[in-house]
């Protein structure tokens, strides 16, 4: 039933858009034309042109995600376990996190050029802080009794970090996967849009330069589809990684 409503709503919205642009109530110059937009998308996939750009955007996303996550975990564990260092660095971290980091994109472009590296750098700054703060929280919230139990079972300080702090912190990282993967994607696309020579963000940038609004919309639709696929992959990974956690919906049922 819900599926019917959803399909109906999509058809109505697309229909309104189509009718609006056909009757020129909505200017096709600003709103594009649904049929032309789908023609652009069809042409992209038929010729295979889009794959190269998608591959680049996704590579940037994955690299930003991986580097941001690994550094965030390491930094979060380190600062979480040495409150002194954390106290010293705290204002700097707060400042770095408060900064609107998208504005770094031009600087990264100057430092790392217009290739993949500058896109990964921007995505990294977005992912890093999400993961970092989650790990910090995870380290702080390890129940003292679990920690003491592990110590009484003979865990060395090293084993405590690897067997208790790390898994506890990772559970927080896993539960923020949707956000951090999304941020890596946003970082990649925004950086492409602000200066690049490849990627889906670049296609949009170019089309915009030529007032080709149909292609802009086509790019947005491809990006949205890509984001949905990424999100689905995260959901799959999540159910595998978090088997040991009681599920919120299961708890509500019982």
């Amino acid at each position: 039933m819900i599926g019917v409503w959803r399909t109906g709503l999509a058809v109505v919205l697309l229909g309104l858009w189509y009718a609006g642009t056909e009757t020129a109530v909505l200017s096709p110059l600003f709103f594009g034309h649904p049929l032309k937009i789908f023609a652009v998308i069809g042409e992209w996939f038929a010729s295979g042109d889009i794959w190269r750009h998608l591959a680049i955007t996704i590579t940037e996303t994955l690299l930003a995600f991986a580097s941001g996550t690994i550094s965030g975990v390491v930094a979060g564990l380190w600062l979480g376990l040495s409150p002194r260092t954390q106290a010293v660095l705290d204002p700097f971290i707060k400042a770095a996190n408060a900064m609107p980091r998208v504005i770094l994109a031009p600087i990264f472009a100057m430092w790392f050029g217009l290739g993949i590296a500058s896109k990964v750098a921007l995505g990294f700054t977005l992912v890093f802080f999400i993961v970092f703060f989650n790990v910090l929280q995870g380290v702080r919230e390890v129940p003292p009794v679990v920690l003491n139990a592990a110590r009484m079972l003979g865990a060395s300080p090293r084993q405590l970090v690897r067997q208790v702090y790390l898994p506890a912190a990772l559970s927080w990282v896993f539960s923020s996967l949707h956000v951090s993967v999304g941020m890596a994607f946003v970082g990649a696309v925004v950086a492409e849009y602000l200066g690049s020579y490849a990627g889906v963000g670049y296609l949009i940038l170019q089309a915009e330069g030529m007032f080709d609004v149909d292609t802009v919309f086509a790019g947005i639709i491809v990006l949205t589809g890509c984001a949905l696929v990424l999100d689905g992959a995260v959901s799959l990974a999540e159910t595998r990684l978090l088997v040991w956690q009681p599920r919120a919906d299961a708890a509500r049922e019982s």
């Binding site: 679990v146 003491n148 009484m152 003979g154 067997q163 559970s171 040991w244 009681p246």
Partner: protein, 264 residues
């Protein structure tokens, strides 16, 4: 292995929680400590475990002053102490793994102990998938797999229903009595607020005063025959007489603690 408290005092800031406590557990002896709620029972056990250090006095393990963690003791915590990201089997295997055993050897030892606490078929479950009683059993197996000469237990069964509880008390006694550990029978320091439980399990029951500055105020040797069935032994006149004698002492402390709590 013996465990001795020698005039141990502990202060948290200005508050004196333990006030010059002296008592000991002989090798292979099962000693229970009863006392009103909040008097400092868990704190005493943390001192015995070396998780906190006395403000003055000392804890002796096998006659040696304890510094740092008590490596000879296994500790069954009052709260939920299992690692939620490990299955029951991996939780039990944790101790051997920390000690450097191979994964296979640790898993085999874990499986043996899971079976001994009646969880043979539940090794793959995560803590949140188990009942409270199953989690306590896992904690018990996790502690016992390391074969510690001293066993510290903090109200291990208080959250269980009466049937499960008596079942586990009997299991504990059976395991303790049949112990063929490296160093013979374990010395057990068992905390409870349930006097019946204390009497039915122990060789000796120590009564703590109400806080602050708790310390033992009375000791009772329980010379009921072993092996015991905790449900049956409660029905004997000797048990009832013992319970009355101890309760006469404990009641005053419970009332003191209750009044102090009500006044606060």
């Amino acid at each position: 292995m013996s465990l001795t408290f020698d005039t141990v005092t502990l202060r948290f800031g200005a508050a004196e929680v333990v006030g010059g406590a002296s008592f000991s557990v002989a090798p292979g002896e099962f000693v229970s400590i009863v006392g009103p709620t909040g008097c400092g029972k868990s704190t005493l056990l943390n001192l015995a475990a070396g998780l906190i250090a006395p403000s003055s006095g000392q804890v002796l393990v096998g006659g040696q002053p304890l510094t740092g963690l008590n490596r000879r003791a296994g500790y069954l915590f009052q709260g939920e102490s299992l690692m939620p990201w490990r299955t029951a089997r991996d939780n039990v295997a944790a101790g051997p793994e920390f000690a450097g055993a191979s994964r296979a050897a640790a898993a085999a030892a874990a499986q043996t102990w899971l079976a001994r606490v009646g969880l043979a078929g539940h090794g793959e479950k995560y803590p949140h998938q188990m009942s409270g009683g199953m989690r306590k059993r896992t904690q018990l197996a996790q502690t016992l797999v390391l074969d510690p000469p001293i066993l510290l237990m903090d109200e291990p069964f208080s959250a269980l229903d009466v049937q499960t509880r008596q079942l586990m008390e009997n299991e504990l006694l059976a395991i303790w009595q049949a112990d063929m550990g490296r160093s013979g029978r374990k010395s057990v320091l068992f905390i409870t607020h349930d006097l019946e439980e204390a009497i039915s399990l122990s060789d000796r029951v120590i009564v703590l005063s109400a806080g602050p500055a708790t310390r033992p105020i009375a000791e009772f040797a329980i010379d009921l025959p072993r092996p015991r069935d905790v449900a049956e032994i409660r029905l004997t006149p000797a048990f009832r007489a013992m319970e009355e004698r101890i309760w006469a002492v404990l009641r005053d402390e419970v009332l003191k603690a209750y009044r102090a709590g009500a006044a606060a």
